[in-house]
């Protein structure tokens, strides 16, 4: 995997649950991300899908080290970023950026758009004064806003425009990797399409690499090259987009895909309805985490955790149905 821009190995994040009367004591942990491995190639878009609370956003923040992982490794261009000190990490931040889900919360209400977009350049001392202002105007135009918007405040903009401001800020440092944390979930459907197209144009223009986190399978299918499916803190399946959508191997992926609406009332398809709720990440099921809701559940699933392995052609799946030799499915 020499062409990998980013590689995550066995990333784990457990958020401690503490109880405190006088002294705090750890009574448990939310296993938000529990052993996630993947890589992202230069210039590609890796989609990351899953239900709310499955750990997608935490994964996105872990690879940027916005949250310190409990264990695991993250290699960015071959360097383990978890071994960098504060100063080295701050420098590296210009190569990796994030775009947030909520365009209302991710912009400081007391700063003008110009200072929001210019802030990264100021922090990294790339440009100041006139040069910075010129770059800000250029960035605003790149993302489809106008140069005169720089003097305004975030509350004067609509959701879609605010998301463009967030994109301009992320682009200010010419990053190599951008983590898009559900960047269109908070937007109207008509605006979603515009923003997604903007993402694709920017990728072509600047050679960007994306980790695209979403829960909308159609959006992910549109933008991604490869797609990873997460369930309860683990990646259960990862494959090239068409491979995954046409030939899902994991029962959870199957169920998820069957829930995507088909924009044609004449077509019908069998819906797989999952029973019950997602188990608590504080106390996840033994063995395969999906076994409590899986329709193909076998005895082995309750005891032994399936390995996440390549079943051919870069199609990874963690399921006992897809063993190395006995493909019963």
């Amino acid at each position: 995997m020499t062409d990998a821009l980013l590689e995550a190995n066995n990333l784990v994040k457990h958020f401690p649950i503490t109880e405190s009367l006088l002294f705090s004591k750890q009574v448990g942990a939310v296993k938000a991300v529990d052993g996630v491995s993947f890589h992202i190639k230069k210039g590609e878009t890796l989609g990351l899908v899953g239900e709310s609370g499955c750990g997608k956003s935490t994964t996105g923040r872990l690879i940027l080290r916005l949250i310190q992982p409990t264990s695991g490794e993250v290699f960015f261009e071959g360097r383990n970023i978890l071994e960098l000190n504060h100063e080295e990490m701050r420098e590296l931040r210009s190569d990796m950026q994030i775009i947030f889900q909520d365009p209302y919360a991710s912009l400081n209400p007391r700063m003008t758009v110009g200072s929001i977009v210019g802030e990264p350049m100021e922090v990294h001392k790339i440009a100041t004064g006139k040069a910075k202002e010129a770059k800000v105007r250029e960035l605003l135009e790149v993302v489809g806003l106008s140069a005169y918007h720089a003097k305004r405040y975030p509350h004067e903009f609509s959701g879609g425009q605010r998301q463009r401001i967030g994109i301009a800020r992320a682009l200010a440092l010419d990053p190599k990797l951008i983590v898009c944390d559900e960047p269109v979930s908070a937007l109207d459907v008509s605006i979603q399409a515009q923003i997604i197209n903007l993402f694709q144009e920017l990728q072509e223009e600047f050679g960007l690499t994306y980790l695209f986190i979403a829960h909308d399978l159609s959006v992910v299918k549109h933008v991604s090259d490869r797609v990873a499916v997460m369930y309860l803190g683990k990646i259960v399946e990862l494959a090239k987009k068409y491979e995954l959508y046409d030939n899902p191997k994991h029962p959870y992926t199957e169920a998820l895909l069957s829930a995507v609406p088909i924009p044609d009332p004449a077509k019908r398809r069998q819906r797989i309805i999952l029973e019950g709720d997602v188990p608590s990440p504080i106390n996840p099921p033994n063995g395969c985490r999906f076994h409590t809701r899986c329709r193909y559940v076998q005895e082995i699933c309750e005891h032994e955790e399936p390995k996440f392995r390549d079943i051919g052609g870069g199609h990874f799946v963690a399921c006992h149905l897809h063993g190395v030799s006995n493909d019963k499915h």
């Binding site: 210009s94 950026q97 994030i98 400081n108 007391r110």
Partner: protein
């Protein structure tokens, strides 16, 4: 978040807050132009005209030393305001920084600082002030120190509370993602968003501080005679309350009106900044 102009517009619709702002502004203005209003010196005595009732020459009358009460009330505003302002400024700055660091950083500093603040808050402010002045000796500087010290826990508690919610905002994470240092985030992103709260707090604390300053002077721990300070004036004139009430009524009114103005302004601002009370 709205613009400053929009905020002023809404403020102007709150009549009590406008009244408070006007009262406070006039007190400030009168203190500033005191020498141009009155032709007397605040400490100039004239034993021939002792305890004269209000007249054309002395609008507020004269006190037991024959000093013009109006002049003394006007100059007293300067002393009360400067004591309150400097005390709140010093205490507010320290308290804000403590609250900011405690709320943002958390951990051991937070627990220790907040327990210390809780202990100081448990003492009535006047008692605390008396203790401080006992140590430092009476005088205007000691009053300023006392005010500053009683401001610190109030500010640090309020700021810490605001910071606890502000530091979880996504724009703080965004700032971290672009590589801002934690100190940079604290001062560029967290503090500016706590500013409205600080403004409200300051107007209420100024009123409090003026009361404390006058009370201390009244019991003889603050301004010393012949300094024209409202509390001190009340103290020396209370013996003539029956025979010459004007000597105590006017400084008393001055205290009441300035504190009322600041409280009205502070309450109005607080209502405006409270999203639950917005229509």
């Amino acid at each position: 978040m709205e613009s400053f102009r929009g905020f002023c517009k809404r403020l102007s619709r709150n009549r009590l807050a406008v009244a408070g702002a006007l009262i406070f502004a006039s007190v400030l203005a009168l203190a500033a132009i005191a020498p141009w209003i009155s032709r007397y010196q605040p400490e100039a005595m004239s034993l021939a005209s002792r305890l004269k009732p209000p007249s054309k020459d002395h609008l507020f009358g004269t006190d037991e030393m024959g000093r013009d009460v109006l002049t003394r009330v006007l100059y007293g505003a300067r002393i009360s305001l400067s004591m309150a302002f400097s005390g709140v400024l010093i205490g507010g700055t320290i308290g804000t920084i403590v609250g900011l660091v405690a709320g943002y950083g958390g951990g051991r500093f937070d627990s220790i600082a907040m327990r210390v603040m809780d202990v100081t808050l448990a003492f009535p402010s006047i008692l605390q002030a008396i203790l401080i002045i006992t140590v430092l000796g009476p005088g205007l500087q000691s009053v300023v120190v006392a005010i500053a010290i009683f401001c610190i826990p109030v500010y640090s508690r309020t700021v810490r509370g605001a910071v606890l919610s502000l530091k979880e905002m996504e724009y703080v994470e965004a700032a971290r993602a672009i590589g801002r240092t934690e100190t940079g985030i604290m001062f560029r992103h967290v503090l500016p968003n706590a500013l409205p709260l600080l403004i409200v707090q300051t107007s209420l604390m100024l009123a409090n501080a003026m009361l404390v300053a006058s009370s201390l002077s009244f019991i003889g721990l603050g301004a010393q005679p012949p300094t024209p300070e409202w509390g001190a004036m009340l103290a020396s004139s209370r013996a003539y309350l029956r025979t010459a009430p004007w000597v105590s009524i006017f400084p008393g009114l001055a205290i009441t009106i300035s504190v009322l103005g600041l409280n009205l302004l502070g309450d109005g601002l607080r209502d405006l900044l409270d999203p639950r009370l917005r229509q």
